[in-house]
């Protein structure tokens, strides 16, 4: 057990699974880096250095740099998964799902069902999401709700190093296609992470903090915003229960309902879009299945309905923050 960054935790999960199972392969743009160039290999490990070092241990037969051809290598990963390999395909930014959407939502998701259950597709798609780097609207989205729409996929959204390692190992060992969404703003976050491999099951929310007044549902980087707000609110005498569902598909609706049963109040904070996003889905579940438990309207704290601007001041305005959450919790306490 040692303090490790989110980046290190993810790297370690892949490393250990690749050691454990020779059918695990990694492919994507610059997952090694430097292939074919005249300098050193293992040059990148992706733009954030997350997969650095893996090619040195496992070689280019298992760590494959790809051309900028997401549709082809995602399709290849599906085909390989159907043939006995266990590929981890790197989709640099989740926004680039745009160029390989068919492979993910029409091929990977439906392969097993449409063909009558003949196959399994043990594919993990690692990808980066989230705003905060000033790289504008086509590189900053939190598109995990889009994937959660589709039956046949699983969608994982880890909020810290410990979860990242355990959930990623679960994803790699899982026999279904999993989209593993890493938040760019979390790579430097440090937490105690066991050195040994371990798994965290999908569909089980993490109770981050308990409290009887309000339930706050938060995922990914928003968990930390929620934690800060809850600390602040506790000083004002409001006790928040924070739940991190950890996976948006499957979604642990049971735990959410359980918590709302105790608090009667629900605020959802999420970085995905304000419409047809994560916050809407959680609100809908509770409005349908937990209506009688509610003492107040559900409040969603989300970005506004707008593409994400590059300008850092506007981007900060875009991302839901502690102040907004505190306002929302106060409001939900008043009604």
């Amino acid at each position: 057990m040692a303090g490790k960054t989110y980046r290190q935790a993810i790297n370690e999960a892949i490393l250990q699974e690749m050691r454990r199972d020779s059918t695990v392969i990694l492919l994507g743009e610059d997952v090694a880096g430097g292939t074919g160039a005249g300098g050193e290999g293992d040059a990148w490990g992706g733009p954030m250095g997350v997969t650095r070092g893996l090619v040195s241990e496992f070689g280019v037969g298992r760590v494959l740099d790809t051309p900028i051809s997401e549709a082809a290598y995602m399709g290849a990963a599906i085909g390989a998964a159907a043939s006995g390999l266990r590929p981890i395909a790197d989709l640099m930014f989740i926004d680039f799902a745009g160029v390989c959407f068919d492979q993910i939502v029409n091929q990977a998701a439906k392969y097993r069902y449409m063909y009558g259950g003949q196959d399994k597709i043990p594919l993990t798609i690692r990808t980066m999401m989230g705003a905060g780097l000033g790289i504008s609207s086509q590189h900053s989205q939190s598109l995990y709700p889009i994937f959660s729409y589709f039956a046949g996929l699983k969608v994982v959204v880890p909020s810290g190093p410990y979860d990242a390692k355990g959930l990623l190992i679960s994803a790699i060992r899982d026999d279904d296609p999993v989209i593993f969404c890493e938040h760019k703003a979390l790579y430097e976050m440090v937490e105690d992470v066991p050195d040994e491999p371990y798994t965290i099951p999908f569909g089980e929310a993490n109770f981050i903090r308990s409290g009887g007044d309000v339930t706050i549902v938060a995922m990914s980087s928003m968990v930390h915003v929620a934690t800060k707000a809850a600390t602040e609110l506790a000083r004002q005498g409001i006790e928040c229960e924070i739940l991190d569902p950890r996976t948006s598909s499957p979604l642990d609706t049971e735990s959410i309902l359980e918590s709302v049963e105790e608090t009667g109040r629900l605020v959802i904070i999420d970085e995905s879009g304000p419409r047809f996003g994560m916050a809407s889905e959680v609100a809908a579940v509770v409005a349908e299945e937990g209506f009688a438990l509610l003492k107040a309207p559900i409040i969603k704290v989300t970005p506004p309905f707008v593409p994400i601007p590059a300008a850092p001041n506007l981007e900060q305005l875009y991302i839901p923050d502690v102040a907004q959450l505190i306002v929302a919790v106060n409001k939900v306490m008043e009604s």
């Binding site: 051309p67 290598y73 399709g75 085909g79 449409m114 569909g203």
Partner: protein, 324 residues
């Protein structure tokens, strides 16, 4: 050179596809066949010429014009028919229908919504074959229309730089739906895409079983030996519409009739093997009779088969315990 036995197998396969499709054309008009149905009649030499080169460890990637390749690859024809009729004992339990025939145990992978994806999936099958040292190759069928999907070009490049054991067969039947290949494909010749991706590309007469067989053999050998992918363009003609119900007003009059008369792949096969005295005519004739009988039984059984049970709707969505 193929043995007499192999030639008879090939002939039986082609004849079976023809009979199956001619019958399907009639049955479809009567009603009761769900969905869009794309017939392969006329193109038999293509799928059969390809499949004669494949063994059990290989993978054939099908297109939406799926019946012919499925039969050529040796999928159970009763299960094929039942799948087209969307019955519970169909190849895919009635979930895929005509366009998605998929049978892992025959090494047949189904077609996909986005036409052209087969090349990418085939890259994966080929990569796995190499990593797992199975000795298998993958062969992707791609229509002349599908060739213009971006994923095809991406996958050709990928297969080439990774020297994957993959063969790409462009089945050029002249049309993507109602649009002519001469309009839709710059330069008109599909095989010329090969040079752009640094792989061999040839054009063959897709109505000539032997030409297809020979070129595919070379390409499969090359792939198996680790020398990378190849492209074969097989020019062919479909005898029916894009799908059943297509009025086909876009086609030149007599295009099909002329082909049926003078350039039919089954007729040419017969002539060829009889001219060269490689099989007995009586053997071919008895195959014809047997196939006609088989097709009768297949349709009878398929139409009588049960639809999937209502409880099947929510089964095998996921491979893990969780089912949504």
């Amino acid at each position: 050179m193929q043995s007499t036995k192999e030639l008879l197998v090939a002939y039986r396969s082609m004849r079976t596809i023809r009979e199956f499709e001619e019958r399907m054309h009639i049955e479809f008009a009567k009603g009761g066949v769900p969905g869009f149905v794309h017939l392969y009649a006329g193109q038999e030499a293509s799928a059969v010429g390809v499949c004669a080169n494949l063994s059990g460890k290989d993978v054939l990637l099908n297109t939406h014009r799926a019946h012919g390749p499925a039969i050529a690859r040796g999928a159970d024809i009763f299960a094929v028919a039942k799948e087209i009729y969307c019955r519970g004992e169909g190849l895919c339990k009635g979930r895929g229908g005509s366009a998605h025939l998929h049978d892992v145990k025959s090494g047949l992978w189904g077609a996909n919504s986005g036409v052209g994806s087969g090349v990418a999936l085939g890259c994966g099958a080929a990569l796995a074959a190499r990593n797992l040292k199975t000795g298998g190759v993958a062969v992707a069928l791609v229509g002349d229309g599908a060739v213009n999907q971006g994923v095809v070009s991406e996958a050709l490049n990928l297969a080439s730089i990774w020297k994957l054991p993959l063969v790409i067969v462009f089945e050029n039947n002249g049309y993507g739906e109602a649009t002519a290949v001469d309009y839709a494909v710059a330069g008109k010749d599909l095989y010329k895409r090969a040079a752009a991706f640094d792989m061999p590309g040839v054009k063959v007469d897709g109505h000539d079983y032997f030409a297809v067989y020979d070129e595919v053999r070379l390409a499969v050998e090359r792939a198996r030996a680790g020398h990378g992918p190849s492209i074969i363009e097989a020019k062919q003609i479909r005898y029916f519409g894009h799908f059943e119900g297509d009025a086909q007003t876009y086609r030149p009059k007599n295009e099909v009739e002329q082909c049926r008369q003078g350039n039919d792949c089954l007729k040419r096969f017969r002539q060829h093997v009889l001219n060269e005295n490689r099989v007995e005519e009586s053997d071919l004739n008895s195959i014809d009779t047997e196939v006609a009988d088989l097709i009768d039984r297949v349709y009878k059984e398929a139409k009588a088969a049960r639809f999937p049970g209502e409880d099947e709707l929510m089964q095998s969505i996921y491979a893990s315990e969780y089912q949504g």
